[in-house]
């Protein structure tokens, strides 16, 4: 939809997507207020981030996809350069080297790559016949794996998996053979199991990653150490029941049994205080946004726009699924936030930037006559 306030200027945005995102953000703020013990300061900081995110979203929504296509190669080259720079001069935070200090701002180049990688693959494949040939698939995979490896080395397993997923989603949507997809999935899966469960892992994985895998397999083994997060999170969720303990009445969160309760484990706070009903409301909003995203992708003009829109939407879902899967004990602990609900930094901006691209794609269609 184009909202015009005069004849020469038109504000490009998608009202349905915007409404969904705003609902989500407010829901998130309500949960966060409770999770962080009624801290107004936290609320304000999160509000500011959301404001920044929505601004970035609005700005990106005004850009035509065709313009973006032109910048993509440069963005990719720049992104890789920054990832290399992180190795050389990055600052260390929480045991991993992820941050690039540019004097005024500190930021994680890996966040930028979350959008640049799908753009790159989408651009590369849009210029070639689809479904892509094996040669093109190999090149695309290389383009995906290069930044993925760099980020995995930082080490930031969560982000590198997301980036790999965002690139692979483009390939998937571009129509590569299902047999290939299934075959790859099976071989990758067994490789992962092989690495995770055999002595090989001592060489490939970090100690904390090995611990996470063991914890996932048997959280009771070390209930006060590594398994503690998952045990407490399941207690919080389970004790929430159908209707929850009420806003600000979650004992698991307020008595601090639940760790990381305003970031990665905020879903447990929501489940404890609002119960299954609150969870279903959250799922409805997410599902609405996802459906709208996929609709935009389907109705997008041009292969680049389509692939990019689809990938952004599917990556958004990966966040949701991995986070909730982790918090409910279905998946091992991978540090991914619950999108737009978790407190914190750069993911909000990069997520909303993605939705900005989606809106731009949807509102800059050329008439067929053009």
């Amino acid at each position: 939809m184009k909202v015009s306030w005069n004849t020469s200027h038109t504000l490009h945005l998608d009202v349905l997507l915007l409404v969904g995102l705003i609902c989500l953000s407010f829901y998130g703020l309500i949960v966060l207020y409770s999770a962080d013990n009624q801290s107004t300061a936290t609320l304000i900081r999160q509000g500011v981030r959301l404001g920044l995110g929505f601004t970035v979203m609005l700005v990106l929504a005004q850009i035509r996809p065709e313009h973006i296509m032109r910048w993509v190669p440069w963005l990719y080259a720049g992104g890789i350069a920054m990832l290399l720079a992180v190795f050389v001069m990055g600052t260390v935070g929480k045991g991993a080297q992820r941050w690039l200090d540019l004097g005024i701002v500190r930021f994680q180049p890996s966040e930028l790559m979350k959008l640049i990688v799908p753009m790159t693959i989408a651009l590369y494949l849009s210029e070639r016949p689809l479904p892509p040939s094996y040669r093109h698939i190999v090149v695309a995979l290389f383009l995906v794996l290069l930044p993925t490896m760099l980020i995995a080395k930082q080490p930031d397993l969560g982000t590198s998996l997301l980036i790999a997923a965002s690139g692979l989603f483009v390939l998937l949507l571009a129509g590569i053979n299902w047999k290939l997809v299934v075959g790859t999935a099976i071989s990758l899966g067994s490789a992962a199991i092989l690495i995770a469960l055999t002595p090989l892992r001592e060489k490939v994985l970090h100690a904390y990653q090995i611990r996470r895998i063991d914890t996932f397999l048997d959280p009771e083994k070390d209930p006060l150490g590594a398994g503690y997060h998952i045990i407490q999170s399941k207690i919080a969720i389970g004790s929430g029941g159908l209707y929850g303990k009420g806003w600000q009445h979650g004992t698991q969160s307020h008595l601090e049994f639940l760790p990381e309760r305003n970031t990665d484990f905020i879903f447990a706070v929501l489940s404890e205080e609002f119960g299954l009903v609150g969870v279903l409301i959250l799922f409805t909003i997410y599902f609405f946004i996802l459906t709208r995203g996929l609709f935009i992708a389907m109705s997008a003009q041009g292969t680049f726009a389509r692939l990019l829109a689809g990938s952004i939407t599917l990556t958004f879902f990966v966040y949701i699924f991995v986070n909730i899967g982790m918090v409910t004990g279905l998946l091992p602990v991978v540090g991914l936030p619950l999108p737009l609900i978790s407190y914190g930094g750069t993911s909000i901006v990069s997520l909303l930037a993605g939705f900005g691209l989606l809106m731009g794609i949807h509102t800059h269609k050329r008439l067929l006559s053009e």
């Binding site: 849009s126 210029e127 070639r128 016949p129 689809l130 479904p131 998937l172 949507l173 571009a174 129509g175 407490q232 399941k234 207690i235 919080a236 969720i237 389970g238 004790s239 929430g240 029941g241 159908l242 004992t251 698991q252 008595l255 601090e256 049994f257 489940s271 119960g275 299954l276 969870v279 279903l280 799922f283 997410y286 599902f287 996802l290 459906t291 996929l294 992708a297 389907m298 292969t303 389509r306 692939l307 689809g310 599917l314 879902f317 699924f321 909730i324 899967g325 409910t328 279905l330």
Partner: protein
């Protein structure tokens, strides 16, 4: 070229893409439903289970240890009480890990922290959870508490903890009767009800504190609290107050106790004074003694080693565990055995030439008086402590009859005094020697048993009890330290039932009279071995001296104290009761290596009895010496 390909495939590509998106949408839907299913499991099906876990997280049951009952003497003087003591504790998680050393350094500027404190702190630190307080210093003085309190805001995570600690205000006085409390150890844990002791750190280790643990401990209370993950209590949900332990009243007269301790100061020995009419223990002295307060918070290594290695063995409770040859103090009893078994009449005389030999044997058993006592009957024999009279009597009785009679006065048996670890002494029989050494009994051993030597061993408590029994003409009360308990809250008093008294029955009541008469002569008779003590006594006292050999004196050699090391000197003993016609106090006193009973032990007994009757009971006596 590029454009051409794109155009050629545009529609096909769109259809391909549309299919893929639809598949993706379906997968999303399925995965979301999968998550919903998972949540239904957690939140609906397992809801109760997780609610329980969540409540267990939230609510903790904390024990409220009961305050221990106080201990008073018979006049209400506090012997053991609970004092608020302050300790400095650190909650590790509230202190930066590498800042701990700095913190200790800083604290050291406010109150002294020794290397031992540090060592103990780091030891405890390893075993505690991060949110549990770890004690750094115990027993802060009021000044130290004040100094820290002023600056406590500079030390987050460092707190002062107040708790009640056992305190014995009189220190060493009466310590061997009272005993002490100490840290609960593995051994204690095996036999106590752990739930009753959750939250309690100390338990009675010896003495009255141990024996009356059940009375003094009380019942544990509990509170259900809501805590956060660090164990910090946010609110109390439910509270059940503990029931304090009962207060205990002892028969002990602590003034008399201290008086007796002062008389024995510097010696090794013991004194037990009983109230003959009840068995109540008026004084129970064992010297050297020690300060029980040392043990309350765990005694430090150095002090403990000092106590253990001290030549005077201050940890030994001589009153109940010191087993001494009773020597001549048992002569009146042996004499009664002669009458009971019809071997001697009280006035029947025996010739004492100064020695005795078994029929057909060369060996001479010496009397302490080399020239002999001449013709002596029972009264003379006791008064002058003639050995030969009792050698002959013992020979005539035989060891088993002698032993059986003595055992009726608890010799060789526990007195069942209400403190633990008492030793039974020894009253030998033929069978005993066979069992113990697989050897036959020699007649010579009967002789020396007759004068309380050889195998015969008795504790001061046994001697005091036997003397009290004699003074009451056979009425036997088991020695008793505690007589009353008092519920701390309601102040209601309740008598502690003592063991039923028994009666030693003799063939003829006159035997008692004879024995008491003979022991009176020891103090008041012209040739009595303790006549010095009776010279100016305004009331009648009965007593018996005893001098127990520590080493064997060579045949024909003479005991010469000056030539012997102090540790080979004889033990000095004295048993006594007074007033004779209405006994108020019976006692036994022993001074290890003190020399003769008449010079080392009897004066102490006399002073104690005098002090008790006149100062404590304030009995009025005619000042004229109560002569015959």
């Amino acid at each position: 070229m590029l454009k051409k390909i794109l155009l050629k495939n545009a529609w096909r590509e769109y259809l391909l893409f549309r299919d893929r998106v639809l598949v993706a949408w379906l997968i999303i839907l399925l995965l979301l439903l999968g998550l919903v299913l998972r949540l239904v499991f957690l939140q609906v099906l397992d809801h109760e289970h997780f609610t329980t876990l969540s409540e267990n997280n939230r609510l903790k049951i904390l024990p409220l240890p009961p305050p221990r009952g106080l201990i008073y003497d018979r006049n209400g003087v506090v012997l053991a009480e609970n004092q608020a003591t302050y300790s400095l504790e650190i909650i590790p998680e509230q202190v930066p890990k590498d800042g701990l050393e700095d913190l200790l350094e800083q604290l050291n500027t406010i109150l002294p922290i020794s290397d031992d404190d540090r060592k103990r702190f780091y030891k405890y630190l390893k075993h505690k959870r991060r949110f549990e307080p770890v004690p750094l210093r115990y027993k802060l003085t009021d000044a130290e508490v004040a100094r820290f309190s002023v600056r406590s805001f500079e030390f987050p995570g460092v707190n002062i903890n107040t708790r009640l600690t056992r305190f014995y205000p009189l220190g060493k006085t009466g310590n061997h009767a009272l005993g002490y409390v100490g840290r609960i150890n593995q051994q204690d844990l095996k036999r106590l009800d752990t739930s009753e002791y959750s939250g309690t750190r100390n338990i009675g280790k010896i003495g009255v504190e141990k024996y009356y643990e059940d009375v003094l401990h009380g019942r544990v209370g509990l509170q259900q609290v809501e805590t956060n993950v660090r164990g910090r209590i946010l609110r109390v949900v439910k509270r059940e107050d503990p029931i304090p332990g009962d207060n205990l009243y002892l028969n002990l007269d602590i003034v008399l106790q201290r008086f007796a301790e002062q008389l024995l100061e510097g010696e090794r020995g013991a004194l037990v004074a009983l109230e003959p009419t009840t068995g109540g223990v008026l004084a129970l002295v064992s010297v050297p003694h020690y300060d029980p307060n040392l043990f309350v918070n765990g005694i430090d290594h150095k002090s403990y080693k000092e106590l253990l290695q001290s030549p005077g063995k201050p940890l030994l409770n001589r009153a109940i565990r010191g087993q001494y040859p009773p020597g001549s103090t048992i002569k009146a009893f042996v004499g009664m055995a002669g009458m009971e078994y019809n071997q001697r009449q009280a006035h029947q005389k025996t010739w004492c030439p100064g020695w005795y030999s078994l029929p057909g044997k060369e060996h001479k058993y010496r009397d302490w008086k080399h020239s002999g006592h001449g013709h002596v009957n029972f009264y003379h024999a006791v008064e002058q402590s003639c050995d030969v009279y009792f050698y002959t009597l013992a020979h005539d009785l035989g060891i088993n009859r002698l032993s059986n009679f003595m055992q009726r006065f608890s010799f060789g048996h526990l007195t069942e005094i209400d403190i633990s670890n008492e030793l039974p002494g020894l009253m030998p029989t033929r069978e005993w020697k066979h069992r113990r050494y697989n050897l036959a009994w020699y007649p010579g051993e009967t002789l020396i048993s007759g004068i309380g030597q050889g195998f015969v061993l008795a504790t001061p408590t046994q001697l005091a009890m036997a003397t009290a029994t004699l003074s009451m003409r056979g009425k036997t009360h088991h020695p008793r330290l505690a007589f009353m308990r008092e519920a701390a809250e309601t102040r209601t008093l309740q008598t502690i039932p003592s063991r039923a008294s028994t009666q030693v029955e003799l063939r003829n009541e006159d035997f008692w009279t004879a024995a008491i008469e003979a022991m009176q002569a020891v103090v008041h008779g012209a040739r009595g071995t303790a006549r010095k003590q009776g010279a100016d006594l305004p009331y009648r006292m009965a007593g018996k001296t005893g001098t127990a050999q520590v080493i064997n004196i060579e045949q024909n050699a003479k005991y010469d104290a000056d030539k012997l090391k102090k540790k080979f000197h004889d033990h000095a003993l004295f048993v006594a009761f007074a007033p004779v016609d209405d006994p108020k106090i019976a006692l036994a006193v022993i001074v290890e290596n003190g020399g003769s009973g008449s010079s080392a032990a009897a004066p102490i007994a006399r002073k104690v009895i005098d002090f008790y009757l006149r100062q404590r009971l304030q009995l009025e006596f005619d000042e004229a010496p109560a002569g015959h």
